[in-house]
């Protein structure tokens, strides 16, 4: 796909999301930094017992021994149950938190506090209520951006996410989906080498979420940055990611087929030792993927099993375990 078709697709998608004009963008998002690789090495994070708790409450390990290399330009989905530490992993990558053990390197150098090479899209839009949509997006511009260049970039990003018509609105006057698109535009304004998305579509309704996923794919195609996407939505991970890691409790209680080896329903999120990577799989095929693909359905079943969810395959006479091998075959 050539650059011009990509951007016109983006504009069309954005327009379909509502509000934006269908004009195609003159150029793709300009000035994007090259995508950067991220490397986690033996990373662990333990939270000290918070003040006010009884003294006997021990420190709470959340993550341990996470080692992972994310290639430049790759979209990596981080799956896990609620409270398993996936957001913590993301926050550490962005320098919003620091690891207790191990290290994170971006492009070969350690992350700094609030690393300028990263941009974060939070689960909540976190927009400044007293600023307009455009002014909120401009918050993401790198320091020292010239006023004119900044204004042009903001306009370009608003076009990209289909919010040109809402540039002058306050966050309170737009819908949740629009607010989340504003938040995405703000993150993109930073020209990040690594885009960190923490369940960015989690609070949106199902249809808006699907549209936002397509928008994200188009944005990524137009400016191929490295994306770390935290989600609890298996389908979202399969639709968007090149690779999926599943965070959970060791010892690994899943076999290749996806059923729990011990067969009992111990909640994987009940952290006692800290979560680590229990599954890692490469999603086959190129994006955008067929949402109805049987192959993805199989992977979904496997991932759900890893999350402790029974796929209820028995209900239609299909064994819950499967013999489809891991990709690459």
């Amino acid at each position: 796909m050539s650059a011009s078709t990509t951007t016109s697709t983006v504009a069309r998608r954005a327009a379909a999301l509502g509000g934006g004009s269908a004009r195609s963008l003159a150029a793709g998002p300009s000035g994007a930094k090259a995508a950067l690789a991220v490397e986690f090495a033996g990373l662990g994070r333990t939270f000290a017992p918070s003040a006010g708790t009884v003294a006997s409450v021990a420190a709470r390990p959340v993550l341990r021994d996470v080692s992972l290399t994310v290639r430049a330009g790759e979209v990596l989905a981080i799956l896990g149950t609620s409270g398993c530490g996936k957001s913590t992993l993301l926050r550490i990558a962005g320098g919003l938190d620091s690891p207790s053990t191990g290290s994170v390197q971006i492009d070969g150098s350690p992350t700094t506090a609030f690393d300028t090479r990263c941009a974060v899209g939070f689960q909540e839009p976190r927009l400044l209520p007293w600023r307009t949509v455009a002014a909120n997006v401009s918050l993401g511009l790198p320091r020292g951006t010239a006023r004119e260049a900044g204004r042009a970039r903001v306009a370009e990003l608003l076009e990209l996410v289909g919010l040109t018509a809402f540039a002058g609105h306050r966050p309170a006057a737009i819908s949740g989906g629009m607010a989340q698109r504003t938040s995405l535009a703000r993150a993109l304004a930073r020209n990040p080498g690594v885009l960190l998305l923490d369940e960015p579509f989690g609070a949106l309704d199902a249809l808006t979420r699907l549209k936002m996923q397509d928008l994200l794919l188009d944005v990524h195609a137009a400016a191929p940055t490295t994306v770390l996407l935290v989600t609890h939505d298996v389908d979202e991970a399969l639709q968007l990611a090149d690779r999926i890691i599943l965070l959970g409790q060791e010892p690994a209680t899943t076999d290749a087929g996806g059923t729990r080896a011990d067969g009992n329903a111990r909640a994987p999120g009940a952290t006692t030792f800290g979560a680590t990577i229990v599954q890692e799989l490469t999603v086959p095929g190129n994006r955008p993927r067929d949402r109805g693909s049987a192959e993805l359905a199989e992977l979904r079943g496997r991932l759900l099993a890893g999350l402790g969810i029974d796929r209820h395959g028995d209900a239609r006479g299909v064994a819950s375990s499967t013999n489809i091998p891991h990709f690459p075959y």
Binding site: T116, A119, V120, R126, P129, W130, L139, G140
Partner: protein, 268 residues
């Protein structure tokens, strides 16, 4: 008591009457007018001796009399000036101290207990000390008014800054804001509505402290008028001073109220 449910009134399709401007003005004036009528009646019918409660007309005559002597304007002007200067100084210091304590843990640990203790001192306790240190001049009154205005601002600002949405602050940091830039871009706008309600409290407190200062040591001003009329038994002038204080307090508060509305529209 058993739980009772209010009868379900018909749903209001129109804008409620109580939100209309004219209704608010007339409604607000209703009670003062009623009080004035009742006052007039009690004095006219001789229910209360006019030596105890002068009639409204007598208070008006006292006002005209004082105005003709040039004292009324002077007293109102000097009192207003003391309040405004003291309020400005106290509010500015309160804003600075509140910001410091609200933003810095160290400042909170070091300053908050002392300031809390100073705040607990009743206003009148300062008067003798201020008079000895600063004499009967303007400084002593303005200082007392400033003390009065300082604490409401300090308390509300420190509290509000401590409760600024952490997620917004974190988002600000994540997008490279630090120090002064973070303060002006995120924290300050977030606390502006509370700062202004703090300012309104401070203004009310400023008038309170002004009267305390003027009652106990002044040669002019509304508080002085109260003190001297108390000694002379001029109840008409006492009532006049009380009415003027009510009007001035309400007027300055209304000005801040307009400012507050504007700021809330802009920042909240």
């Amino acid at each position: 008591m058993t739980e009772t449910i209010a009868p379900n009134t018909a749903p209001a399709v129109r804008r409620p009457l109580t939100s209309r401007r004219s209704v608010r003005v007339v409604g607000g004036l209703l009670l003062p007018v009623l009080i004035l009528i009742a006052w007039q009646l009690t004095t006219a019918l001789g229910l209360v001796s006019i030596s105890q409660l002068p009639s409204p007309a007598m208070v008006w005559i006292a006002a005209v009399d004082l105005f003709d002597r040039g004292e009324l304007t002077l007293y109102v002007a000097i009192s207003t000036q003391r309040v405004l200067i003291g309020f400005a100084i106290g509010a500015a210091l309160g804003l600075a101290a509140g910001s410091l304590v609200g933003l810095s843990r160290a400042a909170d640990v070091l300053l908050a207990p002392t300031l809390g203790a100073i705040r607990a001192v009743p206003s009148l306790a300062w008067v003798p000390l201020l008079i000895i240190w600063l004499k009967y001049g303007e400084e002593s009154k303005i200082t007392l008014v400033a003390i009065g205005a300082f604490f409401p601002v300090y308390t509300t600002v420190a509290q509000a800054l401590r409760h600024v949405d952490r997620q917004l602050v974190e988002a600000g940091r994540a997008f490279g804001l630090r120090g002064v830039r973070l303060f002006t871009a995120v924290q300050l706008p977030a606390v502006i509505p509370s700062v202004i309600s703090g300012l309104r409290l401070a203004l009310a407190q400023a008038w309170l402290f002004l009267v305390a200062a003027e009652l106990l040591g002044a040669s002019m001003g509304l508080g002085f008028l109260l003190a001297i009329s108390g000694t002379n038994g001029r109840i008409d002038r006492i009532l006049l001073a009380i009415i003027l204080l009510a009007l001035l307090g309400k007027l300055t508060d209304a000005i801040l109220g307009v400012f507050e509305k504007w700021a809330i529209r802009k920042w909240a």
